[in-house]
Amino acid sequence: MNEPADQEPLRTPPGRLFRKYLYAIVALVFAALAISTGFDVWFSYREQKQLLAATQREQAASAAIQIGQFIGQIENQIRWLARLPPELSSNEDERLNAIRLLRLSPAIAEIARLDAQGREQVRVSRRVADKVGSNADLSTSPAFRGANDSRAYYGPVYFFGDTEPFMTLATRGTGRAPDVIVAEVNLRFIWDLVAGIRVGNTGKAYVVNRMGVLIAHPDLWRALQRSDLSGHADVRAALDGVGPPSGGLVKEDLSGQRVLSTYATVPSLGWLVFVELPLTEAYAPIYASIGRSTFLLVILLVGAVLVSLVLSRRMTVPIQVLTQGAKRIGSGDLGQRLAIKTGDELEALGDQFNRMAAHLRESYATLERKVVERTSELEKARDQALAEHDAAERARSAAVAANETKSRFLAVVSHELRTPLNGVMGVLQLLDDGSLSEAQRRHLATAAASGETLIALVDAVLEYARLEASTEMLETRDFRLDQLIEAAADLMRPQALDKGLTFGLAGDATVNTAAHGDPVRLNRILLNLIGNAIKFTPNGGSGVNAAAERRDDHVLLRITVRDTGIGIAPDLHERIFEDFVQADDSIARRFGGTGLGLAIARRLTRLMHGELAVESTPGAGSTFTLEVPLGLAGNGIAQGALAPPSRQLRVLLVDDDPVNCEVGEAILKRLGHRATVARNGTSAVELARDQAFDVILMDLHMPDMDGVEAASRIAKLGLPKMPRIIAVTADVSRSARERLAGAGIAKVVSKPILINALREAIEDDPAQETTATQLAAGALIDRHFLEDQRELLGAAQIDKLHHLLDETGEKLIEDITKAAATGDHARLARSAHQLGSAASALGLVRLFERCREIELAAAAMPLLECPSAARELAALRVASMSALDNLLRPSGQRSLD
């Protein structure tokens, strides 16, 4: 979750929200401002235009009024002159009055006074000489007639001297015969007026008469040109009485400039006063207003952008802080505090984040504390468990040590007991050379029987010790069941008969067969059971029933031994199979014995995967039932007890004890073999090197070197044919066995040497036996080690290792076989080492040791031996694996063999 790869796509590009806000606000403000300004400018423009037009109309009206007043003033002045009573003044006075009027009114160029009949009385002029009393008849003049027709006469504009606009003005006096005053007015004086009319800064007003002729213009010369403007559309329209457009008219003036134009009519004169303002000036305020608005818009926009920046920052910064904070919290940084001080919901959100982070932090802290607590508890429990385990281990070690001590003690004791016994028995056997007397032979028989009993006793102890130490191994071979049972019965019958008891043997036909098993041990059990039946039966008799039931892959042998003896109390039915237990002490006193017999029988039975049970009623006798599964026998079982040896063997007998040497040599000769004696390990090695032997009987306890080392040295001699080495020892402890296995000694003959046992051992040709049968499961695998491993690693892991070992083992065996075939010593050593390592992991000790031996010996191993070593390893591996399979299989399914 915290991997950068997951976080990368979540990373929000900084500023995206910021830009969004910024654009939105700017767009909003801009739209609002633009619309507002647009409307403002539009309405302002319209209002300004109308205002402008209205102003201009007013100016035109004002100008028209001024011009009207100008003319009206002159009219008033001549009216004043006309209304002077005639009787008040002579002609000369009238002239003076006229002169005064000329001074008063510069526009009047000439004044004439006509009497009521139209005769000129006085004419005063600025240019020509005054005339008094000329009496010229002017009654037909338009001025005179006009003045008489109406109150005042306004003549048409005429041009004097080609350029000067003039107008005749006439009024009539009052009274019965009123005079008429006729004045010639120089309209150029309107120029002063017109030039004085201010229309804006650069605008102007000008006047046209009723005919459309320009009579006054600020550019004086234009008026002097007698310009006829009636051809202009606007002038024409105005002359036709069309009112000026309300918004003013845009047109080109006389100088080609675009102007806003309007006009007004001068009352009573009918003249038109045009007022024109250049558009550049007229619209300047509008443009200025637009400019101001635009400028303002820009300023506001800039302001808006700045405000938007600030606003957007204020809006986005807390969000970014939130985002980063959330990211940090998401990445586990819970100590982070978000500092958002906006005073609004964002701050509240930030606080919530902080609170959430705090809660998370607390939760984490609680969790961590609990984890620490649990961890420490677990550590304590583990320490305790380890301590207990150590204690248990120590206890176990102590127990093992004690057991070993016991085993060693038993071994030593039995060895020390049997060594002299061996001598005694050997001598007793040798005494009977056929020349003895009857008495001697009887004594000898007694001595031999006593010896045998003693040996049996020692054997029982020794055997029990072996069984106790779980070192007892079955020594199986094919044998005939009927022979075994009959031999036991024959052996015991004399005893029964001697006690006056009946002894019956009921052998079923099914026992007339051969089976594969350990006949010696089976015989011992039978002898024990029959012996007990005879021993504990004061009268009556005993009987043996035997039956063999053929099963799929084995034969189930059932033997019942009945007696009519003292019987066993029910509560003792099981106890009697325990060690050193007899029905009660009195029995021991009465019958003697070690109390080990049944325990050994039971253990041997169990060792053979059989069952030994008892049914008994005290006083009525007992019935012991033995059920033992036996393997199917191979073919060619030798009939007859003492078959001559298949061939004469060269045997090297190695023992430091001269008695034993003598006995051993004698027995070997009796068995038909050729014996050579070595009194110590060194000479044994030398002899083995110098002479060829088929078998070496090696005593293990020798002063100079023990048998194991001697065997190792012989093995290293690199003899062309390695003799089989058979250990002769009373030490049958497990460790001793393992040492023997390590030195390549597979056979052990216990001391004292019995002829049959020796014969079997010597003639047991290993070439005819499979390695698998030669090796017992107990020796193949270190069970303790395996158990420990299982405890340590767990069943599942062990299973896994098992499979792994199966596979790699197979492969390595192939490698080894190939390497052996090609003589690749290095590879052989390497593969053997690998196989050994693998095997050691699951406690396959034999395989491991063999591998190690081959590894060590590989370099010097003759080419010819390599394939056999490889074969041996392969066989060993198969056997080990199958043994391992058995061990690892759930106990209920464990195979019987």
Binding site: E92, R95, L96, I99, R100, L102, R103, P106, S125, R126, R127, V128, A129, D130, F159, G161, D162, T163, E164, N186, R188, F189, D192, V194, A195, G196, T202, K204, H217, P218, D219, L220, W221, L224, Q225, R226, S255, G256, Q257
Partner: protein, 347 residues
Amino acid sequence: MIERRAPAHTVPAVARRDVLRLAGASAAGWIALGATPDRMRIVASLTALPLDDELTRRSMTDSPTSRLGGLIVGLRQRGWVEGVNFRLELRSTFGAPDRLTTAVQELLDLKPDVILTGSTVETAAVLAATKTVPVVFATANDPVGNGFVESLAHPGGNVTGFTNSTAEMGGKWLQLIREAVPDVARVGVLFNPATTPRGGRFFLESIEQEAAACGVSAVPAPVNVPTEIDEAIRRFSEPPKAAMLALVDSFLVVNRQAVVAAAAKYRVPTIYPFHYFMDVGGLMSYGPTLEVRSADYVDLILRGTKAGDLPVQSPRKYELLINRTVARTLGLTIPFTLLARADEIRE
């Protein structure tokens, strides 16, 4: 007609134009003219007056009442500053006809943009010499009669200008001097036939008509050289009672001090057509007020208006000036009718 920086309708009122605007106008004028600053316009002036005359002295140019001063002030108001974008070239004939041709040629060699002429004689000489250089005449009594222009409203050609007194003014002068000197029996008319329109006949007709109407005799007194002035006036100091009219004549203007001095010396009441004579002690003068408008036309012409399109302007105001001290010296009593008419009475 090209665009104009200064509108023509502006009255020559200095008050309306502050200094700042003036400076701005001059600079803006160049740009408006589309002229490069080094394009110096040449305004030439040809006059009969000597250059040291009071009326032409450069020290007087600041006064708008003088003819030249008015021109310079008017041009400045319209964006033309002397020495900056125009140069004023003055030439005088000193009233001498032999100097006239030389002066005209000198001016034309300057390739002036416009030539201002003082009076009819100079106008005629310049017009005879060029048909292309625009000419503005300051005064002309009879431009149509002299053939200067086709009509007053539409002069045509390369000339325009201002008229002075009209022909009827002769009768007016006679009437006025007769009012001042009621017992006058004869009136001398002083003029130089060479410099007076139509050799004096332009005015003499109205004078003789009025003289006949009121019963006085009009006696022409032509003078050709200044030295004859004294003698011409002296002849009217003797009875019968006489007065004199000085006609519109550049010669008389040039020699106005001699004329006035002689009139005082011989106690001959004389009416003059211009107030210049009053400034040197004349009795009375009557004539059109010379409203200075030549700057307007010079400006228009410098900006490209054809001179022939500009109408010839006539005077619209007339002024009567009377020096009562001179009148008392001459033993004259000025009647009411004159006083009522007088625009200025000097003591």
